[in-house]
Symmetry: D2
Subunit: 140 residues, 4 copies
């Protein structure tokens, strides 16, 4: 299953080369990640941190930037859950320009499971493993 969100490139996101400042792609990906928790996995990310006392900080990132995005363009972020490890998950983010479907960037991000209060690595709790697997099993 692929989870997708859409947005419009905003004025404050452009750099002097007149394209999206590349660090902002990671902000786009994190916003998509938050949206995925809230809308597909069923728990807003704030509740994950506070009530479940776990967090998912990024530990490894690999990204290819293929085409720049410009002011006012519509963008879709596709989220695919590639791997559920013992203590981490690996998610692929694809930024697609709309309506022509050109891929702008692809990023594979591994996030560790940690206890939010101590920042120590932990096994993914069973209820979270189930949520992730349920989502993943929907994928082709």
């Amino acid at each position: 299953m692929t989870y997708s969100t859409e947005f419009t490139v905003r004025f404050g996101e452009i750099d002097p080369a007149r394209v999206v400042y590349y660090p902002r792609f990671f902000h786009y990906f994190h916003q998509a990640f938050e949206s995925w928790f809230e809308n597909a996995l069923g728990v807003p990310y704030g509740k994950v941190l506070e009530d479940h006392n776990i967090g998912f900080p990024s530990v490894h990132v690999e990204t290819d930037f293929k085409r720049p995005l410009r002011y006012g363009e519509k963008v879709r972020i596709d989220i695919d859950l590639l791997e559920i490890g013992k203590r981490s998950i690996t998610v692929r983010y694809t930024a697609v320009r709309l309506p022509d479907g050109e891929v702008s960037a692809v990023s594979t991000i591994k996030t560790a499971a940690i206890r939010n209060d101590t920042f120590k690595s932990v096994d993914i709790p069973d209820d979270w493993r189930e949520r992730f697997e349920k989502f993943k099993s929907g994928q082709k």
Copy 2:
């Protein structure tokens, strides 16, 4: 006494009109505010929050934008402490382009004193009143 900090306008701060995106001026002012606590008032702002359990959120802002700033320009922020109230301080920030001294923006920002853990308004503690007055008395 005027406290001043300097910096260079960065790539990621420009908007499609090729000038600094105006919300970023408030980020500049806050960074100058943090620098003022650390270098002139003698306590890094992080310690103010954690060890002294007080914070100074902005409650009223008035700003005039006079000239835009462009990529690569050098800027000085001047901080003047205008008023020390019972439960607030009022600070003026002046953004000056270097080396020609043209004023880019002037902002007067009132910040309330609050307990950091409860976010409730409190009287400015005596030790902080002293720090602020010592700084202000240096002003002409």
Copy 3:
């Protein structure tokens, strides 16, 4: 007529006091301004700049911050066009927490009309005056 947009407070917008970093409110207001152009005035702001060769930079800002916003909260920004001058418009932004309707911040922002290529102040062009007046006449 009031134009409104809604969004959710994101992870990357929070500061160490666990509330929205106040400069980001101005980013929220600018995003609402862009949405207003696209959805209510009928021209995406990027086209305003490029095809119409005008821009609306902020020249005077007055803001009251009343209640902080926290991670995950839903927010509505209400836009009211207060005044259409010869060479400027004045817009009020009200940030309202949902669903309880508590007002978080109110900002009145005067933006000058300029030629986008020269950054010189100009009279508001007639077609834009009409768009603004049509919007304003809908207001109570």
Copy 4:
């Protein structure tokens, strides 16, 4: 030769987990990149874009995040030029916490050479190749 810049983690860069929001590391790296052009390669990046009509957008990024950074911490970014290709350079950024020298993040970023006005890939111009090689030859 390693080029280094230092800065302090600011209030507006922290997320609800009380550490630097990870997309901001890429903003740190870009600021270090700009500082490197201005102070080590001898041309401010703004002049590179405008007068030399070239740009260096990121095309491939690989990053390991090892330890989070917290509010108020001092950080050094070390820049090492790993490779000078025909149409790209590859730079490693190491974010080091001060004063203890703990490595927080390591990122290897390949940037293409492009003409700034057309965004088309170009060979690295000879004068730039020389600047990069002169810098690289200083490396152990």
